[in-house]
Structure formats: C-alpha cells, structure tokens
Subunit: 116 residues, 6 copies
C-alpha cells in the first residue's frame, strides 16, 4: 500500500463509520462528537498546542487511530517533525516502554503524511 | 469480506484458540474460562442486563474482541439497536473520546450481526 | 467516622468541587457535566440498568469515587444487595483481581449507605 | 503512625473487608478469591518468582494495595531489597513515569516491612 | 489544613521518598528520574507547552500526584487559569467522565497554589 | 502465512521502525530505548525471571507486540511452555478476562516460535 493510500484508507473508514454512528438519533453520542470538534478549536490555548495535547493524550492511552488523527491535525497545523517528536517522547516517558509499539506506528503514519 | 464472513471468521479464531489454551492443563486458566461462562448466566440480574454490563465493561476497557463477543450475545439475547446504542453511549461518555475508534468497530460488527 | 458521615462527607466534597469547576466558564467542562446527567436518565434502557452500567464501568476502570456515586444511585433506584453484588462480580471477573481493593471499598460504602 | 502500625492497619482492613465480601454467597467472587490464593502457589515456577510477577503486575497497573500485598509476600518469601528493586525498576520502565508516585509508596511500605 | 500546607506537605513527601529511592544504587531508576527532568526542559517545544503536555498525560492516566506536580510546574511557568482549564477540559473529554474525580482534586490543588 | 513468517514479519517491522525512530536525534527516545535493553540484563534477578516479569507486565497492560517480544525472549532464555503458561495465567487472573483475547494471540505466537 502506498503512503497516500494508508492515509486515505484511514480517513475513509473513519468518515464512513462516523456517518453511520450519527445516523442513529442517540443524543449522547451526537453531543460527544460535537464536543470533540469544539474542544480542539483555538481559545486561551492555540490550535497547535491543543493538537499536541490531543496527540500526547492519545499516545499515553495507546490508541493508534487517535494518534493518527492527531498526527494529521498536527501536520495541518504546521507543526514540524522535531516538535512532534518531542511531544511523542514525553508521552513515551510518561506512558512507559509499553507505548513503544504505538510509537512505531505513529512514526510510520507521520512519514506517510509527509509524503502523501 | 461479507458481513457473514466477518462474524464467522471472528468466531472461528476465537474457538480454535480457546481450544488450544484449554489443551494445556493449566488449572488457573481452566477455571477463569469456566467462571466467564457462569458469571453471565441469569441470576438476580437477567441475561440481558448482564450482557449489557459485559458490553460496557469491554468498551470502556477498549477491547475490540470482547466488544464483539458481547455484541453477539446481546443480539442473541434479543436486545435491539436502541438499547445497545444507549449502553454504548454510556461507555463512550464514561470512557471518553479515546473510546470512539472502538465504537466505530462496534457499530460495524453490530451491523454485520444484523445482516449475517 | 460513622457510616452516615462517610456518605455525607463524600457528597459534600463532590458538590463543593463540582460548583467550583462550573464557576469557570469553560464550555467543554460545562457540557460534559451536563451530558453526565442526561446519559443516566431513563430511555430505551431504564434507570436501574443504566446505573448498573455506570457502576460496572466505574469498577473496571478502578475509580473509587465513581463507584461510590453509582452505588448511591443504585441504592436510590431500588436495586438490592444481590443485584449489586452480581454487577460487582462481573466487573471483578472482567477487570481482574487488581479490582479487589476497589471492591472492598465498594462493599464498605454500600454498607454505609444501607445504615446511613 | 509507626511502621508496625502501617503494616498492621493495612492487613486488618484487608482481612475485615475480605470477610465481609465472602459473607455474601456470590459464587463468582468466592471463586475469584479462591483462584487468587491458588495462582501464587509454587508450580512450574516457584513462589518467589510468582510473587515478583504479582508485584510487577500490580505496579504497572498502579494499584497501591496490590503492591503492598505482594511486597509483603515477597518479603516473607525471602526476597531481598536488591531483587525487589530490580522488579520495581522493570515495572517503572514498562509502565512509565506515571508509576513513580506508586513507586514512592512501594518503597515506604517495603521499609516499614523491614522494620515492622 | 491550610492551602499552603497542602502544597508543602505534598512536596515534602515527594522529596523525601525520591531521596530514598535514589539512595538505592538501581541504575534503571536513577536514569528514569534523570530523564524525567530532561524531558520537560525547553527544546523544539517551550517549557509551557511541555508542562501542559505533562499535565494532560497525567490527567488522562488519572494520577493525582502527577497532576499536582505538573499543575505546580504550570503555575511556575506562568500559565494562567484559563489556559490550564482548557488543557484540563481536553483531558476530561479524551479520558471521559471517569476523570472527573481527579479533575476535582486538580482544581482544589490549583486553587491552593494560587493562594499558597 | 507460515509460522516462520509470522515471527519473521513481526521482527522485521519492529527492527525497521526502531531504526527509523533512532534516526531522529531525540535524546529522550534514544535513552528510553537504551534503558529498555539494560533493564532486562541479568543482575540481582536472572534473565529468565526478568523476561517473565516483562511478559506479565506486557499482558496485563494488554500490548500484543510487547507480549510477542517477551515471548520470544522467554523462548531464547530457555523457559518452557509450562513456565510461560503459569506466568500467563497469573497475568490473566490479575488483569481479568479482558486479557483473554491477548492470551489467545500469545498462545498462537508461542506455538509459532516453537515451530519456527
């Protein structure tokens, strides 16, 4: 699979299933999805900082899909590889070596984003 | 892969490996597997409630295979989509947005079960 | 400390700090608190079932305060000791023996609620 | 509180509440408690190794009470401070710096056990 | 206990036990403690951003002591209440309502730091 | 995929991505990787015991890749199937039935190692 395809495939599945979930009229889920968008908008903290916070939270909680999503947003927000690597290193230190397999996949996806 | 195959593939791997584990004469594992069956039988709480408890525990702990297993049992116990969605929404609220990727896969598997 | 005081002390601190948090005008936190109330109201599933779901989610995630809160709501919703014990036993099986110290405190608080 | 009292207080509460839990006739909980005793008996692995496994599992899952319990069993099994420290260091590396507050309390309890 | 005492008591215990741990000549633990200091120094990301990352990692992993430590560093780094609240709100959204009891204690400690 | 290939594929990806991560000059990550090697060398505890500790930590934290890595090291260190099964059973008891899907994959990988 090419790097472009890895990124595209992730996003297509994500969008398809988000749409499916929101077809249901479950209000709690609708509002949680809504909050998820609002929480990462600029406020007292700017978008770049918030995306790094989302990235670190995702990595210490070891959620590959969440890491991918925030790596993509970090990339769009203009953060560079050194900045992202420092955030990832803090998450690996706090979360421990158990985080390393997720770190490998994070680097792989970051590289795919650069070439995508 | 068709919806039927998704469900069948999951169950075949699960059964094959459970058999493999129980070939070993490790008594602790044998008894844990045994308890797992007993704990979800009807008692003071009925099977439907217990399966929802298993589903929510599985989703907040973010175990895709456990979610699939309890979705299948919920389906067999006659719970409908609205009931399951409310249980999933409580798990997503308590467990946070980190749960959402598992929620996507839960909805996908639930849909496969309906059509399977 | 008497049983009544244990329950009262927990609730007073909880209310005082919730008030403090909501004094801030952070919209994300306001809405999360709001959702937390809505998610446990009766719908396709009744209040009793939802409170048991909240209890099991809290115990497998090993949060003493959340367990206490849902034990109190289970008690108010009219669930009896056998029903609560079955829910706690499922959580202990799914979450493992690491849950047992929280189970001890859960039983202690449940007893305080009965006598309080 | 003297070191002796710290150890005694922990054990008294633990025993009192274990007794309370087992007063209930919930079979799942009875069997889990039973398995917990059996799993740490000598077999293919000796008691010392098993207690170290229990200690490391408890520390990476960040359960203070479980850590205390296994420290006490390690002490009784004749493990020395260097051996215990190596097990704790592996748990801290794998589990990350988030484990450090539990490591502080582990050292404090280990010291209390030596003097108790 | 006055607010000043809450902060002082936390720091005294922390320092006393860190000293105790480092008395041991366990090299792994020495190096982890060392890394913990280095990782939060300014680099591609500044100290303020890194402390917010540490705070969010600590809150989603639900470690009260780690949250306190990073709140104190955030305060020293000149972050204000609105900035800290936004970071805490992201952690609560990602980590779920299970985080709320830790959020209460975080607000209490932040207030103690302001008055201390 | 043959058993040999399963093992080879895992190791190739692991090595490729470790190399990629260490290409970056992030000192924190370099040192964490370095510590990861040092912590499992023989000391007060021998290599066999340490690998079992790593295995149990990995399984209770439910990291498939970490489990595979330590199973491979356990195999190289000469631990037999009974010893490994006892360690896995302790992890399953402490970590709960949520661990079982990871246990299935652990057994599958262990079998692949035996035939590889």
């Amino acid at each position: 699979m090419t790097d472009h395809n890895k990124v595209a495939e992730f996003n297509e599945y994500r969008e398809k299933m988000n749409k499916r979930i929101l077809q249901d009229d479950n209000k709690i889920l609708h509002r949680i999805f809504n909050l998820d968008t609002k929480a990462f908008m600029g406020g007292a903290l700017d978008v770049r900082t918030k995306e790094l916070l989302g990235l670190v939270a995702s990595l210490v909680l070891r959620c590959d899909d969440c890491v991918k999503y925030h790596l993509e947003s970090c990339n769009k927000a203009g953060l560079n590889g050194k900045e992202v690597a420092e955030a990832l290193s803090i998450a690996t230190l706090v979360g421990g070596t158990i985080v390393i397999p997720h770190l490998r996949r994070a680097y792989e996806y970051w590289d795919a984003l650069q070439e995508g």
